[in-house]
Amino acid sequence: MKTLLNINDGKRVKIIKISGGRGIRQHLQCLGIHIGDIVTLKKTSFLGGPILLEVNGSQVALGKGVASKIEVEEVE
């Protein structure tokens, strides 16, 4: 399964699964990131570090740890 860390910059992906505790899930939901949503990976930072997502017109930064817990599939 691919996570947000295995995706190239600029690709659009669909979120398949969010593993990890309830805290993370809720926090992501609050920022508009849900299972089934289509988001764009805007950029990956230095050292494969945090990533920047575009979700419904707003930008969200996710640390490496969080990004590794989000499984996605690429969409065209």
């Binding site: 993370i24 899930r25 809720q26 508009g32 230095f46 419904n56 969200v60 640390g63 490496k64």
Partner: protein, 637 residues
Amino acid sequence: MKIAFTGQPNAGKSTIFNGLAGYKTVTANFPGQTVHYTISKVTVGNETFEIVDLPGIYSLTALDKAELESRKYILSGQADVIINVIDASTLSRSLELTLQLAELQVPMVICLNMIDEAKRKGLEIDLARLSKIFGVPVIETIANKGIGIDKIFKSAKEAFNKKLIPQIQHFHKDIEEKISEIEKIIPADFLTNIPRRYIAVKLLEGDAELFEKIKQYPEILAMVNKLREEIKISHGKHADTVISSERHALTMNIFEEVTKIGEPQKSLREKIDDLLTNRYLGYPLLFFILFGIFFTVFEVGSFIEEPLTDFFDILIQKLPNFVSEGSFAYFILKGLLEGFSGGIGVAIPYLIPFFVGLTVLEDIGYLPRIAFLMDSIMHKIGLHGKSVLPLIVSYGCNVPGVMASRILESPRDRFITATVSVFIPCAARTTIIFGIVGAYIGGFAVAGIFLFNLFVVMILGAVLTKFIPEVTPGLIMEIPPLRIHTFKNVYMKTWLRLKDFIVVAWPLLIISSISLSLLEYFKIDEILNQILKPIVSWILGLPEQTGITLLFGILRKELSMIMLFQALHTTDLITVMTKVQLIVFTIFTVFYMPCVGTMGALIRELGIRKTIFVTLLTIAMASVLALLARFLFSMLM
């Protein structure tokens, strides 16, 4: 009539509130700026409104301290009308909070703010239709330009008088059935003024606070758990995820119904944004921006400082012409003048440019971008990107730095970040570094001290995180769009911050300066110096008169230097202290004990016990590091 402003972080609540109330709260282009709520009374015509600015919340599921505060207030039922402020450019996401607020059944007004930003993104919103869906007034505003905020009181009155309570948006049938099952069994005396439906939904979502409260009814708890389990089996997902997806689906439906999406306007802003967070160029830019600000602060600061302090120095020298030297009145006046000039001559010239710089960075929205850039590096010391913000603010003043640690979700991150912040040299300690090491040894030594400090801070962070291991979720943070704020906002914010210094710190500075003068008059300073002698002379190898200056540095750090000149009766330190002693003194003052103001902030954020721990830690570290410097430099010089 009580009107509460609520909405998601960075939606512009504080800007609207300030527009209505005059400047009372600090706004920033940074999610989670308001931590305490501010209440203000505004009279329009012959009516007085009480308006409350609540911390931003993403949802009614409280995630951090600020959200808990907000939720508590809204649930307390004190507000007659809720103004749901929405950043129109993120409407789809923001409506999720609106859905939850609707469940509270309080008259409401939906305020679509930053409508210009939404238009830039190509969103066109049908206000009438949105108003019809929720059954409450919907208004448009552009708060930072003051457009539309005059409509707020009128709509709030309308919502209140006509009891315009928002329509509840219903979930799918199977979920609704479970909600009403719980609704039926909640006892009437359980949280009486909160609507049953709200409680039922939150219980199904597994809300921690409500779960704790419902424990006294084991049969209800059992029922809730059973229903949650049923949802999990039928949907294949946790109940909270199911409800959140339901809510998400509802908002997307509403969003699609009320908006037309056109072409977003590509602009220069996106290009600049792209550059600022660029994986390679972002770092040199970060360095130049921060360096530029600090450089300007010191250039501007020293330019203003010199003529001012010279003026006061001359005044103090001429003092014996008016009152006889050595008299009681002479010591009082001398202390007063020295304290007064300490504030106006030393602190303010540096504080003003720093606050302006910080405000500009904050308003533009650069701070969250710094957090993004620094995330990987902060992970190396066991923290994450958000922790870098309190540290940067601390370079100006530790008090807001410690307070900024609130933006972190986990108590462990909050504690470590607040502790580390205290070790960052604030503007006051920076003036000491420049005034002593800079003036008598040179610029490279100044840079050396800053780098040494940064090194110690990193090591300390790494050690503390090792001692309190915990898996933290890491960075999850909204990056708001870059915004250019008005000059007025920068000016008002700088003034608000400066006012804090003038009304709190400056009087303290004057009082302590007078008391030091009096200590001298009554010859008590010598006794105190004798008491401090073991540390000051034996460990640090400093002249024993410096003891008293270190004691006063606890009140305000820059006092240490100002009083050093006074205690040693000279304006040229190098004639009475060796270079090694100057370095040791500076290192000790940079690291030892947070000032009174910072301790106050620490107590508020961490509690008394942790504050004592931090204080002892700083003293211990300052002693060890200064001792180290003493031996090292004695050998070198």
